[in-house]
């Protein structure tokens, strides 16, 4: 029954995002833009939730994976794809998104294998370092535009691609977490030694979560690049990683629904606060503090998507 439900969810998400694409031109471009950012942030926050919330590994390098995906896909669509028939743009964009994700996942594997043997603070610092390395490397690569940034990326992201990816990430995570293999994730998170003692390879579990998270972060980066049409390394600094971490923590680590909700909330909130001008970020931060004081476990405590009872009470 469980799988059945999630397939229905995925199918209806595809249909809905396709229908939304048909009417997107009627929408005020400002709202359109915010909704696109919401979708991208859902992908970013949910994929980080898999690493931070479900596998219990504190990663601060999500913006780095995003950068890898963004630059990979941008190079593909501007360089290799521009020469072919424009009719092929749609399948080629899908391919570019996929490539962005795959290359990011490859980097995830590369970083994950050595660093996931570390725990807690050490891992946080390694991933933070990785994110910064990516940024500095891009800054020094001339064919990626260096510090000047990469311009002229076609605007291909729309509701369909963004929400399809969002649905895919939610589908993947909820199915993964409910599978036997996925139970190992939470086991490792809750007690690594106990998990090891019953034969779970904790490194393997952590690397899987890390690579999957990196893949979706890469796709999110690709979607972002093809929406903003201009990327530069400064956009992917550790501040971006922190923004995503905040979304996960506010939403509730390990809560799929909570993280989606906080991604929506934290994207809309700064826009609603625009009238406050310079004090906008002060009020924004103040609200985050209030939320953390009143709901230290996050807006939604660990709950599973579609089930309204808490599975863990810690």
């Amino acid at each position: 029954m469980k799988i059945h439900k999630s397939v229905i969810f995925l199918a209806s998400a595809i249909v809905l995002s396709f229908l939304a694409t048909l009417v997107e031109h009627r929408l005020n471009p400002y709202y359109f833009q915010i909704i696109i950012y919401i979708g991208i942030n859902i992908v970013l926050a949910s994929s980080l939730n898999l690493i931070n919330g479900f596998a219990g590994q504190f990663s601060l390098g999500h913006a780095g994976f995003m950068a890898v995906g963004a630059y990979t896909s941008a190079v593909l669509t501007t360089g290799l794809f521009s020469s072919v028939n424009p009719l092929l743009n749609i399948p080629l964009f899908a391919l570019a998104l996929l490539c962005g994700g795959i290359v990011a996942a490859a980097f995830g594997l590369l970083v994950g294998i050595p660093s996931l043997r570390l725990k807690g603070d050490y891992l946080a610092i390694t991933t933070l370092g990785f994110g910064e390395i990516i940024r500095v490397v891009v800054q020094n690569l001339d064919f990626l535009g260096g510090a000047r940034g990469f311009t002229g990326i076609p605007k291909l992201s729309n509701f369909f691609w963004v929400f399809l990816t969002a649905a895919a990430v939610i589908f993947t995570i909820s199915n993964l977490i409910n599978s036997t293999y996925g139970k190992a994730f939470t086991a490792v998170r809750d007690d690594e030694i106990a998990a090891e003692s019953i034969g779970i390879s904790s490194t393997r579990v952590k690397v899987t979560a890390f690579v999957t998270g990196a893949f979706f972060a890469g796709v999110a980066g690709a979607l972002y690049a093809h929406f903003v049409t201009y990327i530069n390394p400064a956009q992917f600094s550790f501040l971006k990683s922190f923004e995503i971490v905040v979304m996960v923590i506010i939403g509730g680590m390990g809560s799929i629904l909570g993280v989606i909700f906080s991604a929506v909330l934290l994207t809309i909130l700064p826009e609603v606060l625009r009238t406050m001008a310079q004090y906008r970020m002060v009020i924004y931060s103040l609200l985050l503090i209030i939320i953390m004081i009143t709901r230290p476990q996050g807006l939604f405590a660990r709950r599973r998507f579609g089930k309204h009872k808490a599975i863990l009470k810690i």
Binding site: N28, P29, Y30, Q33, I34, Y37, V136, Q139, N140, G146, A147, R148, G149, T151, K155, Y224, V228, T229, Y230, N232, A234, Q235, L265, E271, V272, L273, R274, T275, M276, A277, Q278, R280, M281, I283, L287, I290, I291, I293, T294, R295
Partner: protein, 377 residues
């Protein structure tokens, strides 16, 4: 109880702030300003905002434009490109502004420009020097000179006015502006017949440059070109003097800050930098502006303030000449701007929508900034 409190606080703010949409009434013209009021380059955004505010107040006190008052709507972009894109979309599609002034930094202008172009809303950037910005479309203008021009003039200044033939470059690899200036300086200087004997790099935020300087010293340059921002530039000059490198050192408009002398002090003697205007310029336009700015904001206007002021006045002048507030009409008038007397010099908009204007060279002697010369394009 605590849960309800949190939810209440969030909803209260939502309700308080939502629905405040500005809409143009009959006797005003809405102009949007896109600026980095907060974030890493907040000082740039704030200075430009002050300059622009002054321009708006002056214009409105003198009767406004086309019999209407100018109303400025400011949006902060937190010094982030994606925020710039959102803010500019909001200004255009929700507030229905007639034109956009901003952004200072090229990275944010590059994110905002395609949106202005799409909606045919003229955008005037006060200080984005990356050549790519105005190539985004025919609605995108700027009132500052571009990196190639500045690099070229500095190369010529070193070659002709200072009569030096062997240059070295110390550039900031983290900074697009610095990389651009270094490249154009290099091209012009070698084309003139000079040679760049050594090139070294640093990263914004570094504080020890002795290794690079020692390497440059070994190549025996007659002068060193340091395109970068004031903090690093001041430290570089200071450390070079400690290493007994007494040759002249040159920089671009990134040097222009009161912090430069504070950090570098006497060691900055025998350095030169280019900028947009000098407070010491005796022309009445500059002196009037400095006096007005000081009485309004109690501080000395920097180059960003002067450029913000000019950007505003050029746009208002264009609206006046267009006799219309429609995008295409303002665009045509802006493109036809010729010999506009601004604080930062006489500005002519060329066919690439860049400003052709003079550049000011400042020299440092006896621990003080001296206005040296104005170079016409």
């Amino acid at each position: 109880m605590r849960k309800t409190l949190g939810v209440l606080a969030v909803t209260a703010v939502f309700i308080m702030t939502y629905g405040c949409v500005a809409n143009e009434n009959k006797d005003e013209i809405l102009i949007g300003e896109l600026g980095s009021l907060t974030g890493t380059t907040a000082t740039f955004g704030q200075s430009t905002h002050h300059g622009l505010e002054l321009a708006v107040e002056e214009t409105n006190n003198a009767g406004g434009v086309l019999g209407k008052k100018i109303t400025l709507l400011v949006e902060d972009d937190q010094s982030k490109p994606e925020e710039a894109a959102t803010a500019v979309t909001k200004l255009i599609t929700r507030d229905n502004v007639r034109a956009i002034i901003g952004e200072v930094a090229s990275s944010r202008s590059l994110a905002a420009a395609p949106i202005c172009q799409q909606f045919q809303i003229p955008m005037v950037s006060p200080a984005s020097t990356n050549p790519e910005v105005t190539r985004k479309g025919d609605y995108i203008f700027r009132v500052c000179y571009i990196d190639p021009f500045q690099g070229e003039i500095l190369a010529k200044f070193m070659y002709n006015s200072l009569g030096l033939r062997k240059a070295a470059i110390l550039k900031d690899v983290k900074n697009d502006y610095s990389m651009g200036l270094a490249q154009f300086f290099h091209e012009t200087f070698t084309a003139l017949g000079g040679s760049v004997v050594a090139e070294q790099a640093y990263s914004e935020g570094d504080s020890d440059f002795r290794a690079q300087l020692t390497a440059l010293k070994a190549a025996e340059p007659e002068a060193i070109f340091v395109p970068g921002y004031y903090i690093e530039a001041a430290l570089i000059v200071k450390q070079a003097r400690e290493l007994n490198m007494t040759m002249p050192m040159l920089g671009g408009d990134g040097w222009d800050s009161s912090k430069l002398l504070e950090v570098g002090g006497e060691s900055l003697n025998n350095t030169y930098f280019s900028t947009h205007y000098s407070v010491d310029d005796t022309s009445t336009a500059v002196q009037n502006f400095v006096a007005k700015y000081r009485s309004r904001f109690q501080e000395i206007p920097d180059a960003m303030a002067a450029l913000g002021y000019d950007a505003g006045l050029i746009l208002f002048d264009a609206i006046r000449r267009a006799e219309s507030v429609e995008g295409p009409a303002i665009r045509d008038a802006l493109a036809a701007t010729e010999n506009f007397s601004g604080v930062t010099g006489k500005i002519t908009i060329d066919q690439d929508r860049n400003a052709r204007k003079s550049l000011v060279i400042i020299s440092v002697a006896d621990g003080a900034l001296k206005y040296r010369e104005t170079i016409q394009p």
